[in-house]
Symmetry: C2
Subunit: 335 residues, 2 copies
């Protein structure tokens, strides 16, 4: 379908060329089955006329939490991996982490400002999930990236996510407009489709917590060397672990996080000690029981809603604000 054809408005090479690059100059000495199928399994592949990128993952033994299901960090890691492979697979990749060639030339990088993820069901160890991702414009100078996670075998949608990205100069750390050349690279991939219907997206501002408003504060959280990513920054996904450190243990054990919204405010380097703040927004369990007529299993009200803040311990500068929603595990599973 894509042999020398124009897709995404641009002329593309044969899909095989991706493989060609990977194995060029290397003698494949053993029979390992189809290399194209291995490549697609390991790196993912384009579907739907190259507008959607799809990758299949098995939930690994070390990606599950104490309840034996994939953790929120695992889901976010897999979303990130699929997104980066989308960029690499598109042939647009520059020398950075997800940056296009025209961005690399201008020392520009993508910076995520907001992520919202809804989880219907957490996969178990050994389960296979299929992740679709695509991008669209977000206003004049932003990009939206969406994801759908399906159970590979049942094709049931078990999670949906959306995120907003802007462009930053990696030296000045200032935000930048999208240069026309970059827009021309990415626009052919834009797909006008929403993983989460607009009215169901948590797009409300997240309140800033303070010592006065936070019910729980955990101080002295120290990023480890092993938390650093290839940019010598704390990887965004690691924030989730620290946010959870100020959530009551009882909630971590007895509830499933069914929705999370992260609003990124500032980068964090290794030397910074962090504080995690959490405040109950609402305990909705009672209301939930009394108001069943408005609920269904997909869109029902959460049992708990929290507001979070991760900030520097020294100067209290904000790193990330978050909102999470939780459903009791028993109730959740019986649905």
């Amino acid at each position: 379908m894509i042999n020398g054809k124009k897709v995404n408005g641009i002329h593309v090479e044969e899909a095989g060329s991706l493989l060609g690059n990977m194995s060029s100059g290397i003698e494949l000495v053993k029979d390992r089955g189809s290399d194209a199928s291995l490549h697609s399994c390991l790196h993912g592949k384009f579907v739907e006329d190259r507008f959607v990128y799809r990758q299949t993952f098995v939930i690994r033994s070390y990606e599950i939490g104490p309840d034996k299901t994939a953790t929120m960090e695992t889901l976010m890691n897999l979303l990130q991996e699929t997104a980066l492979n989308h960029v690499t697979g598109s042939g647009l990749a520059g020398n950075g982490f997800g940056a296009t060639r025209e961005m690399s030339l201008r020392k520009l990088i993508w910076v995520v400002t907001r992520v919202h993820i809804q989880v219907e069901r957490y996969s178990r160890w050994g389960d296979v999930v299929e992740i679709d991702t695509w991008v669209d414009a977000a206003g004049k100078n932003g990009m939206r990236r969406d994801w759908i996670i399906r159970d590979y075998h049942t094709q049931e949608i078990i999670s949906r996510a959306t995120s907003t990205w802007v462009i930053m100069n990696r030296e000045t750390r200032r935000l930048s407009k999208i240069p026309e050349q970059v827009r021309q690279e990415v626009a052919p991939f834009y797909l006008n489709r929403a993983a989460i219907a607009t009215e169901k997206i948590d797009s409300e501002k997240i309140d800033k917590l303070t010592d006065g408003t936070a019910g729980r504060i955990r101080s002295g959280l120290a990023p480890r060397w092993s938390d650093m990513d290839a940019n010598q920054h704390v990887n965004n996904v690691k924030y989730i672990g620290w946010i959870l450190e100020s959530v009551p243990l009882k909630v971590l054990k007895e509830y499933d996080m069914t929705s999370m919204t992260l609003e990124f405010r500032r980068e964090c380097r290794q030397s910074n000690l962090l504080e995690s703040l959490t405040s109950t927004t609402a305990s909705l369990a009672h209301e939930h029981h009394c108001n069943n007529s408005n609920n269904n299993s997909i869109n029902r009200r959460p049992d708990l809603q929290y507001t979070h803040l991760l900030r520097m311990q020294a100067d209290k500068a904000e790193i990330v604000r978050a909102r999470t929603e939780w459903h009791g595990k028993q109730k959740h599973k019986s649905n």
Copy 2:
């Protein structure tokens, strides 16, 4: 080759039956290429008459460290994953984490007492690695598990590892002999082959560090909720991150860890605060330069050697002793 044949000394079903279990009762609605090939890519497969289990992995974006290569934690995670899939693939898996059916019946679990890994070269983001694993007897009541990691495309061996396992009662937490029924389950899989030649294995006792002998001590290390595994314990692999917390930052940045030996002493639960101790065993850089005639790129002396201890902060009880060896990155890469 294995259709109804006797391999590993026992009659085995068709390899297809594994797939059959996975997809039974499920309608596969889309054309996703060969499901057998997907299964092998995601879960691994037996090779060499079912004595060796092999799985292929791509190094993912979130599995690399600040130097953009796979971290030691990542390698250890992938070794664990291959080992568990080996047990599952063998059809022996009980209800536990790597336990066989006969073990599960007796509330027995495998416990690793020692791991030794040698790394010739760390893979980069997007590299594909192929991991082989197999087991053998270790004395009367132990099991040895070995691994070889190859660069998938060049087939170069880039890492070797070996480990020793014993059986423990999961309720009494006491060590147990291997029951005859368990031995009968696993013995058909034993392969008399060593990933690391005996004389090259670090089998020396690791000295116990104390406040007096440790050059560097990092206290107040707190396991996070997200460090817990499915057994509500700290996952063994997480220890590596804490061990590294007492290694000088300059070493983490400018050296590659080329060898690590872990000696596990005790389990750790979430509530325990930890201390990480490190002591220089020897600075071998000078000797290394003066003694080049004895060296080659595979087996050369390390530039640095450290002894480590991870212990409880409260009662100083030992959790894991470790020894690591390091080579300067530049020197390492020029070899």
